[in-house]
């Protein structure tokens, strides 16, 4: 029983997985062919061994610097600041952004003991240097209370360098009907309306 217990215990430590789900996953794995289970184990081992945070932007990658940082076709003059490495995926999926990234590793939250020192803000300032290479910083933190405060903090630090600081617009989801959008989203979209 010991190894079964051990696996259940490890699974239960994952986010969103309780004791019961962990047990169900364990017994599911036990019913699968051994090779399939080993493949999963190897995949987990591989990410643990090979994936590192990029020393320049903080993106999670197998190479350091990561593929975005070393790609000569990407625009070195624009930097998009995100909270987590997973946010890069979302922006990349649009295929619309050709600049570089910077991962903060979270957002300001005094309640959780997270201040500027706990985020990759010093390394951001280092990258921006004297404002010669980077001309624009796009702050793509979440529109939460904490994300907004973090955006403002970055804005205050970066603006004196003479670098343009922009924020992602908020508004209506594409493909959504106006009548199904919530009031706050519509109000935001109205406030941020633009000339046709």
């Amino acid at each position: 029983m010991a190894v079964i217990e051990e696996l259940t215990g490890e699974l239960a430590r994952l986010p969103g997985i309780g004791r019961k789900t962990a047990q169900r996953l364990t017994y599911h794995l036990l019913k699968r062919p051994a090779e399939e289970v080993r493949r999963l184990a190897r995949a987990i081992e591989a990410v643990a061994d090979r994936v590192r945070a990029c020393s320049r932007c903080g993106n999670l990658s197998e190479s350091d610097p990561c593929a975005y940082c070393t790609n000569p076709r990407r625009d070195q003059s624009i930097l998009c600041v995100v909270e987590e490495a997973s946010d890069i995926e979302a922006i990349e999926r649009t295929g619309q952004y050709r600049g570089l990234y910077h991962v903060l590793g979270g957002r300001l939250s005094p309640l959780d003991g997270i201040g500027p020192a706990e985020l990759s803000i010093a390394s951001l300032m280092e990258r921006l240097g004297n404002g010669e290479i980077v001309r624009e910083v796009i702050v793509a933190t979440n529109p939460s209370v904490e994300g907004e405060a973090t955006a403002l903090y970055i804005h205050k630090l970066v603006q004196p360098l003479g670098i343009r600081v922009t924020r992602l617009a908020r508004g209506l989801p594409v493909g959504g009907d106006l009548e199904y959008a919530d009031g706050v989203t519509i109000a935001e979209a109205l406030a941020g309306r633009r000339e046709l």
């Binding site: 939250s109 005094p110 904490e146 907004e148 205050k156 706050v184 109000a187």
Partner: protein
């Protein structure tokens, strides 16, 4: 008062393991009903269940665990609401499991993305003897009243309030830890933005309804009027048409003025979380605050006038005739006042009325035409 365009009445109510009801299924008359029963028989629990479907919280301020029947794990409340003119129906259900502390709400069978999206679907106003605490109790009681009324009737209010509270918690943590002014300033922006929206809504609501409150108060008391006044913690300009920008400016200035003291005290000293509003009796020697100087009867009258204002707000803001729940409200009023309140309800409230009383009385709206149902020990007998 403007006539409401739509009416929604509660036609069916199903309770499972809610308070003292193990299992209850009722078909309610369109007009409403008078629930008659001894104290402790469960009359108020029925009103609590109906109102739960409006805000998904107890109007008595009870935590959800306490709403589950003793010995059970989960309560379930479901109401079917109908517009008699169109026969259109809306089904709202709520369940709470005290083991997992999970609440599940459905509106028309669909689970809303956020609970905030589901509140205020029906339009209900509850009159309760505990309302007197809104007039006579602490400022927190009055803020709670205002927050519920405006969350239900002012678009965007609840979201602004939630953002304000979250920002306030973050900012107070920084103040307590003695953070630098530059770090603090980052949170001020969000605090002012959300706080100004909350205060502007409060200022405009109080000013827009000051006259209505005074009229209701004197109509019930049969005597002098009382005024409703908003007492904001920051010196915000008066309503009823104050803009969020003007309030934000005043709030920002007050924060700047208090900054040194806030750093000493380690907490935020101004903003909607310190607001109050008052009820002033207009007399020859100037205004007198009902909270301090009012008699029990005057305080109760103000509380009822406030609920009548809330009903008027539902009519204006949501274009809907509210369901009126009257929880034994006439017990402590003299016959004259009770009669005048009934007249007001007769004249203005055209929707369903559900009332509770310990024994049958003449003091019933709809000229005593409401059916009288008996409530005893978790059963209701038509």
């Amino acid at each position: 008062m403007a006539a409401a365009s739509t009416v929604l009445v509660c036609r069916e109510l199903r309770l499972r393991q809610f308070r003292n009801y193990a299992e209850l299924d009722l078909v309610l008359p369109r007009q409403g009903v008078a629930l008659i029963g001894d104290n402790g028989s469960g009359k108020t629990n029925l009103l609590e269940a109906i109102y739960y479907l409006e805000i998904f919280r107890s109007f008595r301020g009870a935590p959800d665990e306490q709403l589950v029947k003793f010995g059970a794990d989960t309560f379930y409340v479901r109401g079917r609401f109908q517009d008699p003119a169109t026969d259109r129906t809306l089904e709202i259900a709520a369940a709470y499991d005290r083991r997992t502390r999970k609440k599940r709400v459905t509106v028309g069978g669909v689970e809303p993305e956020r609970l905030g999206d589901a509140i205020g679907q029906i339009g209900i106003v509850v009159f309760s003897p505990s309302d007197v605490a809104v007039v006579a109790g602490s400022p927190a009681e009055r803020r709670r009243f205002m927050d519920i009324a405006l969350s239900l009737n002012a678009p965007g209010y609840l979201q602004a309030l939630q953002r304000y509270r979250q920002t306030l918690r973050q900012r107070n943590t920084l103040l307590r830890d003695g953070a630098s002014p530059s770090l603090l300033a980052v949170w001020d922006h969000g605090l002012v933005e959300s706080g100004a929206r909350v205060m502007a809504a409060r200022a405009n609501w109080a000013a827009a309804h000051a006259d209505a409150f005074a009229n209701y108060y004197s109509a019930i008391s049969g005597g002098p009027a009382a005024r409703l006044v908003y007492r904001a913690a920051a010196p915000v300009p008066p309503g009823p048409d104050v803009s969020v920008e003007d309030v934000a400016q005043a709030f920002r200035a007050e924060l700047a003025r208090l900054a040194p003291r806030e750093r000493d005290r380690g907490t935020t000293l101004t903003g909607p979380h310190r607001d109050d509003f008052g009820f002033e009796l207009v007399g020859r020697d100037g205004p007198r605050d009902l909270r301090e100087f009012g008699s029990g009867g005057q305080q109760r009258t103000a509380a009822i006038a406030l609920r009548l204002v809330e009903a008027a707000t539902v009519r204006e803001a949501r274009g809907r005739e509210p369901i009126i729940l009257l929880d034994d409200v006439f017990a402590e009023l003299d016959t004259g006042r009770a009669r005048r309140i009934l007249d007001l309800l007769e004249a203005e409230a055209r929707g369903q009325v559900i009332l509770t009383a310990p024994k049958p009385t003449d003091l019933e709206p709809r000229h005593g035409e409401l059916e009288r149902w008996k409530v005893a020990d978790g059963t209701v007998t038509p």
